[in-house]
């Protein structure tokens, strides 16, 4: 071969490589590029779930090479921020998204991220959850039988076939097999609870993240009635690393939120919901934009003293998960409103946090939680408090947060039992967070109150449910004002995430006795100076209901 031929060959190869590289979105390019696909709202096994589960597995694998595939979800999806967040990435991070219209196009572009495929059995729903585990460990695309031709057309070969393996088995038998085969190779830092809806429906929004991280997937029960499943659940929690993550959600069929989180808390593990939380494999790789700093809308200085007048003060809080509620609904900014921030997103969705902070209006105030993840304080062993609180302090500081909320459903909920804190827990909270200016507690109404050195702990006195008719809500608030006659009266309201700020404004506008709606930090500062509430902790004879199904 002469020199000229060699030279031409090299040029051709270089050009070919350049074209190929240009076709693949690269996150480290001057203008980062990625793909985007639209998900439907059909999450049934006999509907779009198989194809969408496949795309989520592709997302988890492809994003191991950088933030490559982003999924936008339908209007009925709990997390309503996928579209606006994409816009934020385009505007603030200069992302250029190329739309993939079909599954075929997605596989054409990204199938090289997989080494093969795993087939799940549409007659055995749990086999899909096992397939997600296999996907992460074997770099396998998750397909149902119908999608095998598609996978093979993309050049993939079968790696694992779960069809027929689990027919006639119950879940604890299936998961025992999965644990025997895969558990040892799975991450001990993250386990995915693919719960939520059951039956022919699944909403595996977090599948990409679990696959990306080689997590074990399950929806085992936390219900004491399900002894075999509970034994496996306990084994998983015991063998996870201390303070590691349990991500996803409990199964609506098998157990309750209270049962799961009480149990994860007793192990000192960090619960992060929901099973529907999407795109973490993408979002976790988007850092902060250059020069960005977290700045909260504080209304008072940390050492400021504010004396209240003799009137009713109202503060409004929404804690259900900032992306699933009123944030995107009409009226935000109209009233002082506090929003609970997912502290751990500093580490696995920092760009999302920037999106919220950047979009905050002057009346939006962010607050943290008493632990770095969703943890009930009462079941947490005393020995786990120092490390969890240290982590919380780090994250609170990073996010410029000065107010902290606590919720504990280990002994009840907003209907029955109690959601109050023992004195021991309250001592831990006050001692562990010396820089926090005030604390809130509850989800529905609760009755833990304290005041130490001008730092108040106030429980929610009212839960505004989304179905409450406006005239009844007004009557409720007026009843509270009639029962609490001392002024100032500090009326803390927890607003259900599906209620818009506009709705809340209408309700407050209908009150007979005027009340000042104030930012939460100001509310707590004033409550710290006027103790018209009585100190109370959870009492020994308070009712206890451990949230049975």
């Amino acid at each position: 071969m002469n020199k000229r031929s060699t030279f031409l060959g090299l040029i051709t190869a270089a050009l070919t490589l350049a074209v190929a590289l240009a076709a693949i979105p690269r996150s480290d390019a001057a203008q980062p590029q990625a793909y985007v696909m639209q998900m439907t709202d059909n999450w049934l096994i006999d509907g779009d779930l198989p194809e969408q589960a496949m795309l989520m597995s592709l997302q988890g694998l492809a994003n191991r090479n950088g933030p490559t595939l982003y999924l936008e979800y339908g209007p009925k999806w709990p997390w309503q921020i996928t579209k606006p967040l994409r816009g934020f990435y385009e505007d603030t991070h200069s992302y250029q998204f190329t739309t993939l219209e079909t599954a075929e196009a997605a596989l054409d572009a990204l199938a090289s991220a997989a080494k093969g495929y795993v087939v799940w059995d549409k007659e055995v729903r749990t086999s899909l959850i096992v397939a997600f585990t296999v996907s992460g460990l074997e770099d396998a695309l998750v397909v149902s039988e119908d999608l095998i031709p598609l996978a093979e057309a993309a050049g993939l070969k079968m790696l694992v076939d779960l069809r027929g393996e689990f027919r006639g088995m119950v879940d604890h038998e299936i998961y025992q097999i999965a644990m025997d085969r895969y558990w040892e190779r799975c991450s001990r830092d993250i386990v995915i609870w693919m719960g939520g809806h059951h039956g022919r429906r699944m909403e595996p929004g977090m599948a990409d993240w679990g696959i990306y991280r080689k997590a074990f997937f399950t929806d085992l029960s936390h219900n004491p009635k399900h002894t075999e499943e509970l034994a496996l659940t306990n084994q998983i929690y015991r063998e996870q690393n201390p303070q590691s993550y349990v991500m996803g959600w409990h199964s609506y069929k098998k157990d309750t939120e209270g049962q799961q989180v009480a149990m994860t808390s007793s192990y000192g593990l960090r619960m992060e919901g929901l099973n529907t939380l999407p795109n973490i494999s993408f979002n976790s790789q988007i850092g902060f934009s250059e020069g960005f700093e977290f700045k909260n809308n504080h209304s008072v200085e940390p050492d400021e003293v504010v004396i209240p007048e003799e009137k009713v003060y109202i503060a409004l809080v929404q804690t259900d998960g900032i992306g699933i509620g009123a944030w995107t609904k009409p009226g935000r900014g109209k009233l002082p409103y506090s929003w609970g921030m997912a502290l751990s997103w500093v580490d696995f969705s920092p760009g999302v946090l920037e999106y919220f902070y950047a979009g905050a209006k002057p009346n939006d105030y962010f607050i943290g939680y008493s632990f770095p993840s969703y943890i009930y304080p009462k079941p947490v062993p005393d020995s786990a408090y120092p490390i969890l609180q240290s982590e919380t302090r780090r994250l609170m500081k990073a996010l410029d947060l000065r107010v902290m909320d606590t919720m504990d459903y280990s002994e009840g909920n907003r209907h029955v039992g109690n959601t109050d804190l023992t004195k021991n827990v309250v001592d831990h909270i006050y001692n562990g967070y010396p820089d926090v200016i005030g604390f809130t507690n509850g989800y529905g109404s609760a009755r833990t109150y304290d005041n130490r050195d001008g730092r108040a702990m106030i429980s929610y006195d009212y839960y505004l449910g989304s179905r409450r008719p406006k005239d009844e809500a007004i009557a409720d608030l007026e009843e509270l004002m009639a029962l609490n006659t001392k002024r100032p009266y500090f009326l803390l309201i927890h607003v259900r995430e599906t209620s818009s700020v506009d709705t809340v404004a209408e309700i407050l506008g209908g009150l007979e006795e005027s009340a000042d709606v104030v930012p939460l930090d100001l509310f707590l500062k004033m409550a710290g100076q006027a103790k018209t509430y009585k100190t109370r902790y959870k009492q020994d004879d308070d009712p206890v209901v451990r949230n049975p199904l």
Binding site: H415, V416, R447, S459, Y462, E479, L480, A482, L483, F490
Partner: protein, 191 residues
């Protein structure tokens, strides 16, 4: 007027005079028996299991279901109210002696409005004046209780009237609470 007729009238008059006392007693007896029968008949119509009708009632949330079970046995009436919602349940049971002008009952808790921070205090005791009204078609309870809130204890009066429909199939429970500006109407259907 014939003489025979006059004699008849005289005998009738004498008969009435002699029997009036007896007649009076008989009449009073019939009236009393009638009232008793009416009362006991209506009271027994109260008996049974009553299911909440959300279409006709004040909003019940956060509860989604409610039932009342009534059992009237002689002078005693047992009333059990059950609240349910989203796999969570609560109940309140009281047995009332209808011969007593007032009585103290101990109940499990106050479940009527779980949205607000108000909890049954006073060692979970309520003072109840219970009476049958309207020929036994209304059971009226005047309840005094203590609710505990963030600021301490408040005395609260509750007027609860349970009205039975004529056909005995519908129970309307009207509630006025001294702390609340809006009355509460709950309609129940017999099961």
């Amino acid at each position: 007027m014939s003489a025979r007729f006059i004699v008849f009238l005289n005998y009738l008059s004498l008969f009435i005079k002699l029997r009036m006392k007896t007649l009076k007693y008989l009449l009073v007896g019939f009236v009393f028996a009638g009232a008793f029968l009416t009362s006991s008949h209506a009271a027994s119509d109260f008996d049974g299991h009553w299911k909440f009708d959300p279409e006709m009632s004040t909003a019940l949330d956060p509860w989604s279901t409610m039932s009342i079970t009534i059992d009237a046995q002689g002078d005693e009436v047992s009333i059990v109210r059950k609240f349910g919602g989203d796999k969570r349940n609560a109940s309140e049971a009281m047995i009332l002696d209808m011969t007593l002008p007032t009585q103290v009952v101990e109940v499990e808790g106050w479940w009527d409005n779980r949205h607000i921070g108000a909890y049954l205090g006073g060692d979970k005791q309520q003072t109840v004046e219970a009476k049958w009204l309207d020929e036994g078609r209304t059971l009226q309870l005047n309840i005094n209780m203590i609710l505990e809130t963030a600021q301490g204890e408040s005395q609260v009066r509750v007027l609860r009237e349970m009205r039975l429909s004529r056909d005995g199939q519908t129970l309307r429970v009207l509630q006025i609470r001294s702390s609340r500006n809006l009355p509460i109407v709950r309609v129940f259907r017999k099961q």
